[in-house]
């Protein structure tokens, strides 16, 4: 193919993982970009789950999931050696999807990225499709992978606009003809949408600030200044430039991270702007006179139903975008889309109990931008239907299927008032988290370190003014393990106290009632009972007759940290420890163990803990020739297995 196109395109790939589907031939993925980025910039990719020809379900899902400010810019397909032919298939699907999502507002000559993956080699080829009519694709000049600075690129130039809008929508229908209810409800919903663009609507934009300090004053945008009235059907148009100050205020006015010092690389610490919708009852309306009360009878018995529609949208906007533009072109369309999505779910249940729909935003690992989900929480989130919903979302986003990443507890915290939250944090737990971060290296040259995945809390002696010195080390190790499961959102069970642990062991019949309140030791077996009872977590147990056998199992332990990633409890004839990782040099057999010691009796001082060696790498045999694991003692290792759940 001759490079006849004078403007050979460059495809930029920002997301760290492009291929989600494995190498199944025919598997289709959507490539996500943003209208605010240079063309052919791939921010993320979603797997196509409902690969039906009409793509209705797919467009429905994407409309809910993808925040406004991002869009489908192409497709990727796993194909055979004819890369262009496969890519063309992906392009066609992407064009179809774009058409459905934009509801006919899509033009035929939008440029679309097509990519095909060679099922055999795994090589990815990119093409550009210029118009729908041309069956021929253009090759790309180059493909740049920029995943290392992608987060910075997104969040230094852009910000999030968040709008929560709880609506109580009443609607009426004749009691004698319930079949009319759907029509009446749809009309009421349409009336809400008209309201979004009324001149008496006020959009208040303010900085969503977690830290206290100077924040810019809120900006008030008035519906009458938007110029909706002129052409209400086309809100994609830029508002007519008027001599209004609010016209030219850009999003950056409300962004705090504009200072160069701030490091922003994820949606969590991105600049956020809160948009609130209000109705201005002081906007003069020419038709209304002095108050009047008028009664209109129903003629026949009418029924009133009130539907709760709790809208909550998140959109992405470049900071230089005028606020008014961001509201009219991103926030309002997002509200409209979400309103329709909620309506669609509620409609079949209109005359029954309404589904409790809650909206959450997530920033799952590996996905650069936030995503939005609508969960139905009538029966809680562990209900099978909800598990399936999450599983399908995990699949779509290419997330691992064995860990909960889209549970309500994982959701982005966008609450305006953060005071209450930080207070409960202070009261709820005083434990330090992830104390092993920043400790000196193990000293194993050529070693490969395998450590636990995720966060945990450090539980040790004397915490919560409870004197367990001399007997509570295994209890503390168990608390650390349970905190890991909590922080990874596998459970919402609170970390049990010593007494609660003992109570559990009595309940399952392992111990006599006198055990509660005693100072008796527990070991690895008891821990496995408690984990099974409280969390439903199963464990592997490894037995060692002598401490000298431990280094031999280093490879196995490394594998545990790689696949399970849970903290290990070390018990046996001696003191209990928590094992957080191993550093192992296969060549020399040299190894070190990352030990978190529950016997620490001091305060929550990270420096003191690290300097005292209460959390640190322990070589099996230290420089003085002393063994860490005693040769004349037996050891039991408890390896909790990561539950296979989402």
């Amino acid at each position: 193919m001759a490079p006849h196109s004078c403007e050979a395109a460059t495809v930029r790939v920002l997301c760290p993982k492009l291929l989600l589907s494995g190498n199944q031939p025919g598997a289709l993925q959507w490539l996500i970009g943003s209208p605010f980025f240079p063309p052919f910039t791939v921010v993320s990719t979603f797997r196509c789950i409902h690969q039906s020809p009409d793509l209705d379900q797919e467009s429905d899902d994407l409309r809910k999931l993808l925040p406004k400010g991002f869009e489908v810019i192409g497709g990727l397909i796993v194909g055979d050696s004819d890369a262009e032919k496969s890519a063309l298939e992906a392009v066609r699907a992407a064009r179809r999807l774009r058409k459905i999502i934009s509801e006919g507002g899509e033009l035929d000559d939008e440029k679309i990225v097509g990519a095909s993956v060679d099922a055999g080699t795994g090589a990815i080829h990119f093409f550009i499709s210029k118009t729908e009519k041309l069956a021929k694709l253009e090759p790309v000049a180059s493909v740049v992978y920029e995943e290392d600075k992608s987060g910075k690129y997104l969040w230094e130039n852009g910000c999030l606009l968040h709008c929560e809008l709880p609506i109580k929508l009443p609607f009426y229908f004749p009691a004698s003809s319930p079949s009319e209810s759907k029509k009446m409800f749809s009309e009421a919903v349409d009336a809400v949408i008209t309201q979004f663009k009324e001149p008496n609507v006020v959009y208040i934009a303010e900085t969503l600030n977690k830290a206290s300090g100077d924040v810019p004053k809120p900006v008030v945008l008035r519906g009458k200044d938007f110029g909706f009235g002129a052409d209400a059907s086309n809100i994609n148009r830029l508002p007519a430039a008027e001599d209004q100050v609010s016209d030219i205020i850009s999003c950056s006015h409300l962004c705090l991270n504009s200072k160069p010092a701030a490091v922003v690389n994820s949606a969590e610490n991105a600049d956020k702007i809160q948009i609130s919708l209000m109705l201005n009852r002081s906007e003069k309306s020419p038709t209304s006179g002095a108050p009047v009360a008028e009664y209109f009878p129903a003629m026949e018995e009418a029924r009133l139903i009130v539907v709760d529609l709790n809208l909550d949208v998140l959109t992405y906007a470049p900071k230089e975008l005028p606020l008014m533009h961001a509201v009219s072109n991103l926030v309002i369309p997002a509200l409209v889309d979400q309103l329709y999505s909620l309506t669609k779910i509620i409609l079949p249940h209109l005359l029954m109990e309404h589904p409790q729909l809650r909206i959450y935003h997530f920033n799952p690992p590996g996905v650069l931008h936030p995503i939005t989900t609508i969960y139905e929480l009538n029966y809680g989130e562990t209900e099978m239907k909800q598990v399936d919903v999450r599983k399908s979302l995990h699949m779509r986003l290419g997330l691992p299927l064995d860990r909960p990443l889209l549970r309500t507890a994982n959701a982005l915290d966008l609450s305006v008032n953060d005071d209450s939250r930080s207070n409960t944090k202070k009261r709820g737990s005083i434990q330090l988290k992830e104390v092993h971060i920043g400790i000196p290296s193990s000293g194993v040259s050529e070693g490969v370190a395998s450590v636990i995945q995720g966060s945990y809390e450090y539980y040790h002696y004397l915490q919560d003014s409870f004197d367990d010195s001399g007997w509570g080390c295994a209890y503390r190790s168990l608390q650390t393990i349970i905190s890991w499961f909590r922080l990874q959102h596998y459970t919402s069970v609170s970390v049990p106290s010593h007494r609660e642990i003992q109570q559990t062991l009595v309940e399952i019949g392992d111990k006599d009632p006198s055990f509660v309140g005693s100072r008796e030791w527990i070991g690895a077996i008891e821990l496995s009972f408690v984990l099974d009872k409280l969390l439903g977590v199963s464990c592997k147990i490894m037995n060692f007759r002598s401490g000298s056998e431990l280094p031999e199992k280093c490879r196995e332990l490394a594998l545990h940290f790689e696949t399970q990633g849970t903290p290990i409890m070390i018990g046996g004839g001696v003191l209990a420890y928590t094992l957080l990782g191993v550093d192992y040099d296969e060549g020399s057999g040299d190894c070190a163990f990352l030990i978190l010691d529950p016997h620490y009796t001091g305060g929550e001082d990270h420096k003191k803990i690290v300097n005292g060696g209460w959390c640190g790498w322990k070589k099996a045999i230290d420089s003085k020739g002393k063994s860490f694991f005693l040769h004349n003692k037996f050891y039991n290792l408890l390896l909790p297995q990561r539950p296979n759940m989402v």
């Binding site: 002095a290 108050p291 009878p297």
Partner: protein
């Protein structure tokens, strides 16, 4: 009584010098031994200060007797003394508390936001005043009870005594508890100064548009039109209190005084479609559409925080709606009482005014236009207000200002009265299905100025005309529709 010391009371009161001096001159020139009247002003708990704008004498009652007279206790109680010279150590005051209270009730309707009836004054000798504490306390209680429904936060009142021998002014504050006794009265500082000229002005155009479901209920709990409206006003007041406000386009954040000159505009912001009235699934017999525009105004002392102005504007809106409904109800009472026709039941049913009608599924569409507000120039560039019924003219306003506010004929010019609210146009619809959404009401045509201005006598007829007139275009439309159907049918038959 010591426990009440904790409650904040105004510590000092400043009176508008020009007004109070002229009142004193008027009183001293007149030979009347005693006079009672209302104190108009504002009390600021934030500033610990009271401000008196004007004193308004209570007019003679329906029987033509003055509201206040001096009694010689040793004499026959019913014989009031006629001249100052007769007043002695034993004299005391007789006050028609109910009449003063009625005066307060009517005057408080005419005051804008931030201006209130804050107490009463008496012109009496020192001894008569001292001997009449109980009577005065009763009068204060009657006044505060009469205006409380317009000002629920009312917790203290002023009692100003203008003593003629020796000539001096005395001011006391009175805590309004369930029982007001002489110990509720506490003296406070009183001085004259300039109060009115430094007032800050706040304006608010408030437009609302509610659609209230009228639920199907058992026969026993049937409510009349005005009962439902009263309930709605209570809900509305609550909603209004939590509304956000903007002053001159800026959201009200801090609580600083407003430093800029001129008239300030307040805008009130409400949550988007989060109606607190909406209840779960229920059966409905109809919809009450309640809406319109209120021209609201409030006066603020320069040192008061702007949040006070917002609260005053909100209170003015509530008070204004309440007053209009009161006027409608007063009217209905007056109309019902004289037409005591006895056994002619049918005639009685026909004369039931709309405000008293019961709203249910068999009730036809009906309209109850509330009177509209007009502003009347008052003191030093400030205004008071009045309400005009559709059948009333501005001359009525003038009369009321003279009678109730003791304004002079020469100072009143009907051309200076601003008609800040337009006459209401009524919705043309027969059933609730035409008005359930705001969009559908905008589409349905409104009849402009259909309410005829007629004389007071046939007021109700005027209102009936209104509802009749609103049906005319509908009938024309139906006629045209029928005609076209017949025409179409005939043409079809020809083919």
């Amino acid at each position: 009584m010591e426990i009440f010391l904790h409650q904040t009371m105004v510590k000092a009161v400043v009176g508008e010098e020009a007004r109070l001096t002229s009142a004193e001159d008027r009183l001293s020139r007149s030979a009347i031994p005693a006079e009672v009247g209302l104190v108009i002003g504002k009390l600021s708990s934030v500033l610990d200060r009271g401000f008196v704008f004007d004193l308004i004498p209570t007019p003679s009652n329906d029987a033509g007797e003055p509201a206040c007279s001096v009694l010689e206790t040793r004499d026959d109680k019913k014989k009031p003394s006629k001249s100052k010279s007769q007043s002695s150590e034993s004299s005391s005051l007789s006050i028609d508390s109910d009449w003063v209270a009625e005066h307060a009730r009517q005057v408080s309707r005419m005051l804008l936001g931030g201006v209130k009836v804050v107490g009463i004054y008496v012109w009496a000798s020192d001894s008569a005043f001292k001997n009449s504490t109980m009577i005065l306390c009763q009068a204060i209680k009657a006044v505060s009870d009469a205006i409380r429904h317009l000002d629920p936060a009312l917790d203290e009142a002023l009692l100003i005594h203008i003593c003629y021998s020796p000539r001096r002014w005395n001011c006391r504050t009175c805590l309004l508890n369930s029982s007001i006794t002489s110990s509720s009265l506490r003296p406070c500082d009183f001085k004259l100064g300039r109060v009115l000229s430094s007032l800050q002005r706040f304006k608010c155009n408030y437009s609302f548009n509610f659609r209230l479901p009228i639920y199907s209920k058992g026969e026993s709990s049937r409510q009349t039109f005005t009962e439902i409206l009263r309930q709605e006003l209570a809900v509305h007041e609550k909603e209004l209190k939590s509304a956000n406000a903007m002053i001159d386009g800026y959201l009200v954040h801090n609580d600083e005084p407003c430093n800029t000159e001129g008239e300030h505009e307040i805008e009130l912001l409400f949550p988007f479609m989060k109606d607190i009235r909406a209840e779960a699934t229920k059966n409905v017999t109809g919809i009450l559409h309640f809406g319109g525009s209120i021209y609201s105004y409030a006066y603020l002392n320069v040192k008061e925080p702007v949040s006070r102005a917002v609260a005053d504007i909100k209170a003015d809106i509530t008070r204004s709606l309440q007053s209009r409904l009161d006027i409608i109800c007063d009217e209905a009472e007056q109309d019902l009482n004289p037409t005591d026709v006895g056994d002619d039941e049918e005639a009685e049913i026909l004369t039931i005014p709309i405000s008293k009608s019961i709203l249910n599924s068999s009730t036809k569409a009906c309209h109850l236009p509330l009177p509209r507000r007009v502003l009347v120039p008052w003191l030093a560039g400030t205004h008071i207000c009045d309400y005009l019924q559709p059948f009333e003219s501005l001359e009525v306003v003038k009369e009321r200002c003279m009678e109730l506010m003791s304004m002079e004929h020469s100072s009143l010019d009907t051309s200076k009265i601003s008609e800040v609210e337009t006459e209401t146009s009524l919705m043309v619809a027969e059933s609730m299905w035409d008005v359930i959404t705001p969009a559908s009401s905008a589409a349905s045509c409104r009849l402009e100025g259909n309410v005829e201005r007629t004389s007071r006598e046939d007021g109700n007829k005027g209102m009936d005309n209104a509802s009749y007139a609103s049906n005319v275009p509908m009938m024309v439309a139906i006629f045209v529709l029928l005609l076209s159907v017949i025409l179409g049918f005939m043409l079809y038959r020809k083919d």
